[in-house]
């Protein structure tokens, strides 16, 4: 919790009429420098879904808004309806998740979480469950829970909440129960294909039995069913790959955080020369 007074106000004179002002709980998904010292922020709010707002003077070190509008921090905001973008007039930190900034793995995964949420949702489509999922997942990352498991759980839960739940038990095409064998996952269809349907589909990578088991455990039992599973790095890559391909297909674009996360993981390669 920050020690600054609640709802630190900006200098800008904002009319006090209550129809122009509203409050919400929000997490910053993306930000862009604007003007001399302003920032345009993409937020995910519990009350109004995804919002684009402007925070005036937020880049100045002495800005009272800036510290509350950092990536990943859960803040309670006061917003004023503006002509183009709504304006942040007050901010109070609920949870800063400070530990995420000291842990590159948590930082990279948290970035991936907010990025896919920004890509997969439309403005002002309220979904409180999505906000709660993001808030609790960031909380787990800040608490030091294994970032791999937290992120895979977030991905599957988010896909499910947004109507993209992958089909993990039956063939996506003919509905036959999947046998205990490697099957290809089709990002375009959002599910696995059985042996006979696979023959007619374009060549896709086969997903091993262990990866399929992990996905089903996650689907059935959530994070508590997977968090204790220890998995080796080929299996990690395989699972990351399935989600990555599916998310890229839905988002219809490349995902920057996944690429940067890989670069951060390769950090050690700089030294061993």
């Amino acid at each position: 919790m920050s020690s600054s007074p609640p709802y630190a106000e900006t200098e800008s004179a904002v009319s006090r009429s209550s129809d122009r002002l509203y409050r919400c709980d929000a997490i910053v998904l993306a930000r862009m420098d604007f003007g001399e010292a302003d920032r345009i922020l993409t937020l995910y709010s519990r009350q109004h879904g995804k919002l684009r707002v402007i925070a005036k003077g937020a880049r100045r070190p002495l800005s009272r808004l800036g510290p509350h509008l950092e990536y990943f921090s859960h803040s309670r905001l006061m917003l004023a309806r503006g002509r183009d973008l709504d304006v942040v007039t007050g901010a109070e930190t609920v949870e800063a998740h400070l530990a995420i900034r000291d842990d590159l793995d948590a930082f990279g995964n948290a970035s991936h979480m907010v990025e896919i949420l920004a890509r997969l949702t439309e403005d002002r489509q309220e979904n409180a469950a999505v906000f709660d999922l993001l808030a609790s997942s960031l909380h787990l990352l800040a608490d030091g829970v294994d970032a791999f498991h937290v992120t895979r759980h977030y991905e599957l839960a988010l896909l499910t909440l947004l109507g993209y739940r992958p089909q993990l038990l039956h063939c996506i095409e003919c509905r036959v129960a999947l046998s205990q064998a490697p099957h290809p996952f089709s990002p375009a269809q959002g599910g696995f294909l059985c042996e006979s349907c696979h023959g007619r589909a374009p060549a896709t990578r086969l997903v091993g039995v262990d990866a399929q088991k992990y996905l089903r455990a996650l689907d059935r039992g959530g994070l508590s069913a997977t968090v204790r599973i220890s998995i080796d790095s080929p299996l990690r890559d395989e699972l990351e790959g399935i989600f990555g391909a599916y998310l890229r297909h839905i988002a219809e674009r490349d995902l920057g955080s996944l690429r940067v996360l890989r670069e951060l993981h390769d950090a050690s390669s700089y030294n061993v020369r």
């Binding site: 070190p61 800005s63 800036g66 970035s111 920004a118 920057g256 951060l264 700089y270």
Partner: protein, 203 residues
Amino acid sequence: MSIGHGPATAQPVARLINELARLPGIGTKTASRLAYHLLRTSREEAVSLAEAILDVKERVRLCSICFNTTEADPCAICSDPGRDGAICVVEEPLDVIALERTGQFRGRYHVLHGAVSPVEGIGPDRLKIRELIERVEKDPPHEVIIATNLDLPGEATATYLHRLLAPFGITVSRPASGLPAGGDLEYADEVTLGRALTGRRVL
């Protein structure tokens, strides 16, 4: 990106407004004001501005040692023998100016040209990080001060650099926080920035 100005705006003026509006910190309103101001100024003044813009593009490049913007390579700071053996790592050339104003630092700089920001797709490979490591390998400084911004990308970049620099066994420090979190370094006043530099903490 083109903005409609209506039939009241002459085409060359509309073009100038569109060009000016692309600059950071300038909206269409300010761009219009600037454009009409330029329209009223003398030809000499207009030519002088145009030449200054071209000059900067033709004569300014990046220093091959510190990657700050410079006319001569290496830059004045890198070739100054009076500088000590410390390297201060910053995000942008503007940060060098801010830190030089404090008069508290007598070493040299390394400009990364950004910070690690996965959401924006900016990874270590897009920054002058490999160049920093090579510089440290070739000519080890007695200290590296990581003066990236105090926001999340800046902090994460500092954490990442610290991990890369640890094997070299040199002192790696970060300016002490007299600086409030969340802000850009270039906006800090000299007193705060100077105090933060003298009281830096070892990472």
